[in-house]
């Protein structure tokens, strides 16, 4: 169910996300001082190539990572396998990717606001 390729994908995406997520938490700890507002967030992120790449990589990695992670859990708990499991894995991955991309564009793309 989890072969070497999926395993490596899960570990590598985890390694990529580790600094990104810690960075994200650090920013949050800093940012929440005095409360959050949409403007504040957007002011920081919109139009920034850095944040676009930062969150872009995260979204990609997390879609892969979480899809594989949920695949494992679904297999071990519900015993689903083969085609169905494959389908679910891809489904979760793509769903997360699409939703993540929407959020990414919303938060970092300038033109739209």
């Amino acid at each position: 169910m989890l072969d070497l390729r999926l395993y490596m994908l899960q570990r590598l995406t985890a390694l990529i996300m580790a600094p990104l997520t810690l960075g994200h938490i650090a920013v949050m700890i800093y940012a929440v001082q005095g409360g959050l507002s949409a403007e504040e967030i957007l002011g920081r992120t919109q139009g920034s190539v850095f944040w676009f790449l930062f969150y872009g990589v995260f979204v990609l990695a997390v879609a892969i990572h979480a899809a594989i992670g949920l695949r494992v859990i679904i297999h071990e708990i519900f015993g689903l396998r083969a085609r169905i499991l494959e389908g679910i894995t891809w489904g979760i991955g793509i769903l997360l990717l699409i939703m993540g991309m929407q959020a990414l564009f919303a938060v970092t793309w300038t033109g739209a606001a």
């Binding site: 169910m1 989890l2 072969d3 070497l4 999926l6 395993y7 490596m8 570990r11 494992v72 297999h75 071990e76 708990i77 015993g79």
Partner: protein
């Protein structure tokens, strides 16, 4: 029998793969009594149809493992006093394997996986060659020797929740055997082992829960052996993609 012994309340799983129930027995408690002795007493004196398995009686053959109060144990080497709670004990067939009848589990899947993990030596020399001199304290050899005393009792296999959830998972004992062979310089096809443990039931399914290592009656450490396999397969992954 030494008579005047206190009675033990023993609850024993009866049944087949399809259905079953716990049956209560009263067994005289005696000195130096193992769980296997309790089970044998029931078969000898209380219910002649009780099925179970044992051979060596001393912890060498690994055929007497059962669930004792929900934990996998070698029954021939488990003193009842160690597991009694208020003079009660519950005995069931080994987990994660099909039940044949009562306390006897079908161990075939365990051994099929042992072979599937590449658990048999592939020769690199023949009976006409001299025996290779091998430094016993060489680091790789020490790694190979660490798991060599496995008695294939399947206790680790029963303890592992990944096995419970993932029918294809090769399990700790088979993977530990693969790790031993990977470190055996006499083995003739080490790449084959890496391939065998990298498939969809391979070492990468292990979540390092460590129950295998906690329950192994011989103090072996399959968890670390599996970690070793993950390390080596990861290396091979990068080597291949280069």
């Amino acid at each position: 029998m030494d008579g005047h012994a206190e009675l033990l309340q023993v609850s024993v799983w009866r049944g087949t793969a399809q259905s079953g129930y716990f049956q209560e027995f009263e067994v005289p408690g005696l000195e130096n009594q193992t769980v296997l002795d309790v089970v044998s007493w029931i078969q000898h004196y209380a219910d002649a149809t009780l099925s179970y398995r044992f051979a060596c009686r001393v912890g060498m053959c690994g055929s007497c493992a059962m669930m004792v109060n929900g934990q996998p144990r070698w029954t021939c080497r488990t003193h009842v006093n160690k597991v009694l709670k208020d003079r009660k004990v519950e005995i069931a067939p080994l987990r994660n394997l099909p039940v044949i009848k009562d306390l006897a589990a079908d161990m075939d899947p365990f051994f099929d996986k042992w072979v599937a993990a590449g658990g048999a030596h592939v020769p690199s020399s023949t009976r006409d060659d001299p025996i290779a001199p091998i430094d016993p304290i060489d680091a790789t050899r020490v790694e190979a020797s660490a798991g060599i005393e496995c008695i294939n009792c399947s206790i680790c296999y029963a303890a592992c929740d990944t096995v419970a959830g993932n029918a294809d998972y090769l399990g700790p004992a088979a993977l530990q055997r693969a790790w031993t062979l990977l470190n055996d310089e006499k083995h003739g096809n080490r790449a084959g082992i890496l391939a065998a443990v990298s498939g969809s039931g391979g070492c990468h399914n292990c979540h390092s829960m460590g129950s295998c290592t906690v329950y192994c009656p011989n103090d072996l450490d399959p968890m670390s052996a599996i970690a070793g396999l993950k390390r080596e397969t990861t290396k091979s992954f990068f080597r291949r993609s280069r």
